[in-house]
């Protein structure tokens, strides 16, 4: 057996143990090349990031990315015009926006405020009492920035101003509709816009 195996060996035979023969073929050239390239890449990468700071580390890259996004956002908001009482009231009378808002409301708000706005985990949005203000701009602010500690998440970062405005427009249409079976009033009575 041993001799037969040696005869079929493809390279110089070195040792034999328990019937296993070890050949001593050269390392495949492509393998050695790959190893050298990987080591070279590793050294270059470490130098570029951790020694010479040629490339941005993730935290620096993140800050730059944020700055760019911030500038873009400011530009966009400026183009959209001010988000004030009048603008929001106008949107609440636009049926397409309100329909969009209803869509957003169903997927993100209905969990706590009920599908009809009657409230559950969160307060009733169809009565006349408001915990964080019932004026259009207050509603927008509450959705956009949330109320930390009161359990209202800030939806602005996820939804963006367009969807937040639509949701606010829809909520404006809910005010005072007093749906049946709604949660008892919470917060201060709302006097009107």
């Amino acid at each position: 057996m041993t001799t037969k195996q040696s005869a079929t060996a493809r390279g110089p035979v070195t040792h034999e143990v328990d019937g296993i023969i070890e050949e001593d073929n050269e390392l495949p050239k492509w393998w050695v090349t790959a190893l050298m390239l990987c080591i070279g890449f590793g050294i270059a990468y470490y130098m570029a990031y951790s020694m010479y700071g040629i490339f941005d580390t993730p935290s620096v890259a993140f800050e730059k990315e944020s700055a760019i996004a911030r500038a873009k956002e400011a530009e966009r908001l400026k183009a959209e015009g001010p988000v004030d009482k009048a603008a929001l009231l106008l949107l609440s009378k636009d049926s397409a926006t309100v329909a969009d808002g209803a869509q957003v409301f169903t997927t993100t708000c209905a969990v706590c405020h009920a599908a009809n706005g009657g409230g559950g985990i969160g307060p009733n949005l169809t009565d006349d009492a408001w915990m964080h203000g019932g004026s259009p701009d207050a509603i927008y602010k509450t959705i956009n920035e949330g109320v930390t500690g009161k359990g209202m998440p800030a939806w602005g970062p996820q939804l963006g101003s367009k969807r937040v405005k639509a949701a606010a427009a829809y909520v404006i249409t809910l005010r005072g509709t007093k749906v049946a079976g709604g949660k008892e009033a919470q917060g201060a009575p709302f006097e009107g816009d």
Partner: protein, 797 residues
């Protein structure tokens, strides 16, 4: 002489030297323990994979959590059982079988001690049973693949020492002077697993089955993934490579391709693997230099890993025709191919930008199953199909069934991996997708889960096929065993003659190869540890030494005398010492700096308040239920993560987390900044019935928390323990813990009552809500610096 009836086996066992040359020793191998380990591996393989199929179903179809029956079968408790069973019971027992069987033959000695062999076997099985009982009961340290509580950890250490004594004792009485490459890998395994297990399991015991890691926050993250990654390296890779080096040439009846490739890839693999741990923590709050090292070494690791695959596949290459007819060869060839695929995918995933997409998603799940099912599983099956007939002196009962198993397994893996690649990449892309205005396309996490849920069913199917395969194998091998009877293998081997004029060990230790390599490593470490001017100098010197050293060493090849490495192979102890040094360098270089000085963010004065006593109890419930298996607490520095989850996580956020809970997979959303986001009632409703709050959620229900209570009197022991590992609880905090908890619990219970829910102030529900409401709020900025963890103001316009 060999008593195996198989003619091939007999000829392979034949000793080339003539018996008249020298004194012969008659030895009988201890194969009983090998047979036992194989049986245990098959039984626990079926158990581990069955639990795997169950947890896969749970992710696709939440009623499989059987939440109404109690907490024992929920995903968070069963997933650790699945991973532990597959790694330590299935692969572990297979490894011990392979190591014991091949080592005796490779060193021509019976195992050192029958008593230790049996103790090893029964001790290990007792540990597995303890794991199978304690994990569903909720006893866990909350660290992945190291969940088992401290008494079991001590038992693991003791049994591992038994293994080591038995193994090295066998080497000590060997009749084969030179250690074959398989033995090198076994040595690396035994030494490294011991080091990893002991360091990562260091904990302060609180109760009989409760402890806290001595490491906290980023330190714990670093230690845990140094362990976690190298459990893959030294429990699932090196021993299986050693086994490959014995059984593949045996089954292929071909010589091993390249001895020098064995040397190069063994040393580069064991040295480099240990550095790669931080690739599990890319883009986290871990200091960036450690992340960079983790990534760089993972990329360099690719060729050394492939060295093993090349040596295996090129060994088979001379005998491809056997691949058609022999199921064993099919399993080996496919196993090696999966090894090559996984070890290419691993470095790819370690690239920072690829990790950004893949981390926390099912892509990683696909990757690890390529390794576990494809490499470990197929290699194990190959070994069993080859070994069991030989251990019982018969032919395999059904070759057809083995062929069917091969196809079930490979197609099962293919279905598994393709579905999880799709789910992982798909969800990763959805989570970062943005609308033209920069807002998130998928504003809620559950939308992305619903999109990939069909693939969870597909994965369940793939897993089921793989499970069917191992059941088929077990039937086949039981039938094989029944047809034969245990073979007692006795061989006559020449006694080892003491070599005269042996090269002294000092001359081997202080030889050119070691001196050159250690000089290069020392210079490389100086490069990293100094500033860029000095570092550049050290780097240039290191490169020069490496190149010149390489030239010097390559010149030594042709003088006809045994090479330095050949001499080293005759020195078991020195070989072990050098291996130990090789695996310690990376760990020390990466971990010690963070232990000496806890990493902090530069330029920020922060104060971190520890958890209040009730929150601490809530956190222990979070650990017990295994919430970390699906929820991360680490918001990475990407805009889409900040938008979705809140301000990016900093080191301070988790400074007092023993153990850290950064997580490794997001089946649900990140909850690092969950505190204050939703009202208490939201959490109550969500824990009682996740679907009531998030339609389509696959989270188990935790209704029982409302009726089970926390023993507030016990919190003080936990606080005292934590204060010993650096959490700043004062004596007054500890003394007032009951009062403090009652007060906080009462406030939450009253709030819930006002909203129509009656729940006791000392219930586990209230404690868990208290914890969740504190998440992301431990840090108090004294003087906010440039990197303060405030939400980017532009995000709220």
């Amino acid at each position: 002489m060999e008593t195996t009836p198989n003619a091939l086996e007999e000829s392979l066992e034949h000793q080339p030297s003539s018996p008249s040359d020298s004194k012969m020793d008659r030895i009988t191998y201890n194969d009983d323990v090998v047979r036992k380990f194989i049986a245990a591996s098959m039984i626990f393989g079926i158990v581990g994979m069955l639990v795997g199929v169950i947890v896969a179903l749970q992710l696709a179809w939440h009623p499989a959590n059987a939440s109404a029956a109690g907490p024992w079968f929920s995903f968070g408790r069963l997933r650790p059982l699945h991973t532990n069973a597959v790694i330590f019971a299935f692969v572990g027992n297979m490894m011990f079988a392979g190591v014991y069987h091949s080592t005796q033959r490779l060193v021509k000695a019976r195992l050192f001690s029958d008593f230790l062999s049996n103790l090893h076997f029964w001790g290990w099985q007792a540990i597995i049973v303890a794991a199978a009982v304690s994990l569903p009961m909720g006893y866990t340290q909350g660290k992945e693949y190291a969940e088992l509580e401290w008494p079991i950890d001590i038992a693991i250490t003791l049994i591992w020492v038994v293994f080591a004594v038995n193994f090295f004792g066998t080497l000590a009485k060997r009749r084969e002077k030179h250690l074959y490459v398989a033995i090198w890998f076994y040595i690396a395994t035994i030494v490294t697993v011991a080091v990893l297990h002991i360091v990562n399991s260091l904990a302060i015991p609180i109760f009989a089955m409760k402890s806290y890691s001595v490491f906290g926050g980023a330190q714990d993250a670093l230690v845990q993934w140094w362990y976690g990654h190298n459990a893959v390296a030294f429990f699932l890779t090196t021993p299986i490579l050693g086994i490959m080096y014995y059984y593949v040439p045996k089954a292929a009846e071909r010589p091993v391709y390249s001895y020098r490739l064995s040397i190069v890839h063994f040393w580069s693999l064991v040295f480099m693997y240990i550095w790669a741990g931080p690739h599990h923590l890319l883009n986290t709050a871990l200091p960036e230099w450690a992340q960079t090292l983790g990534m760089v070494f993972s990329v360099i690791l690719w060729p050394p890993s492939w060295g093993g695959m090349i040596n295996g596949l090129f060994t088979i290459r001379g005998n491809w025709e056997k691949l058609r007819v022999d199921p064993v060869m099919k399993f080996f060839a496919a196993g090696l191919t999966f090894y090559g695929m996984s070890t290419f995918e691993g470095p790819l995933l370690s690239i920072r930008s690829v990790s950004a997409l893949a981390h926390y998603t099912d892509w990683i799940v696909a990757h690890v199953h390529g390794g576990a099912l494809g490499w470990n599983g197929l290699m194990a099956f190959g070994v069993f199909y080859w070994l069991v007939p030989r251990l019982y002196g018969v032919q395999l009962h059904s070759k057809k069934a083995a062929d069917a198993h091969f196809w079930l397994a490979t197609v099962g893996i293919a279905i598994y991996m393709l579905s999880m690649w799709g789910a992982g990449i798909g969800q990763g892309l959805m989570l970062r997708a943005a609308k033209p205005d920069g807002s998130l396309s998928y504003a809620t996490f559950v939308e992305t889960l619903l999109a990939i849920k069909p693939l969870y069913f597909v994965r369940f199917g793939g897993g089921l096929m793989y499970l069917g395969g191992i059941v088929l194998m077990t039937w086949n091998l039981i039938a094989t065993v029944r047809a034969g009877k245990p073979v007692v293998t006795t061989v006559d081997v020449p006694a080892l003659v003491e070599e005269k004029n042996e090269v002294p060990w000092t001359q081997l230790l202080f030889a050119k190869p070691t001196l050159i390599v250690f000089t290069v490593i020392a210079l490389a470490i100086l490069t990293g540890a100094t500033n860029f001017i000095a570092g550049s100098f050290f780097l240039v010197v290191a490169a020069m030494v490496a190149v010149l050293g390489g030239l010097v060493l390559s010149k030594q090849d042709d003088d006809g005398k045994p090479t330095w490495h050949r001499l080293l192979e005759g020195r078991g102890l020195l070989f072990t010492v050098l291996t130990t040094i090789a695996i310690l360098i990376g760990g020390v270089a990466e971990i010690v700096p963070s232990l000496v000085a806890a990493p902090t963010e530069a330029g920020i004065a922060v104060k971190v308040d520890p958890y209040r006593p009730l929150e601490l109890e809530g956190r222990d419930i979070y650990l017990r239920e295994g919430c970390y298996n699906c929820h991360s607490q680490m918001i990475r520095p990407f805009r889409y993560e900040e938008q979705r989850y809140g301000a990016i996580s900093t080191l301070a956020d988790s400074r007092y987390d023993h153990p850290f809970q950064w997580g490794s997979k997001r089946t649900g959303p990140d909850i690092a900044r969950e505190g204050g986001k939703y009202p208490n009632l939201w959490h109550y409703n969500h824990l009682v019935d996740p679907r009531a709050v998030t339609a389509g959620s696959n989270m188990p229900a935790y209704k029982f928390l409302a009726t089970s209570s926390v023993d507030l009197e016990k919190t003080r022991f936990k606080m005292r323990g934590l204060s010993k590992v650096g959490v700043p609880y004062t004596q007054a905090d500890i003394d007032g813990s009951v009062e403090n908890s009652r007060e906080q619990g009462k406030a939450i219970a009253e709030d819930l009552k006002a909203n129509g829910v009656a729940v006791a102030a000392d219930s586990e529900m209230v404690a868990l809500v208290a914890y969740l409401q504190r998440l992301g709020k431990l840090r108090v900025d004294v003087a906010p610096g440039p990197k303060a963890a405030a939400l980017d103001p532009s995000l709220t316009h």
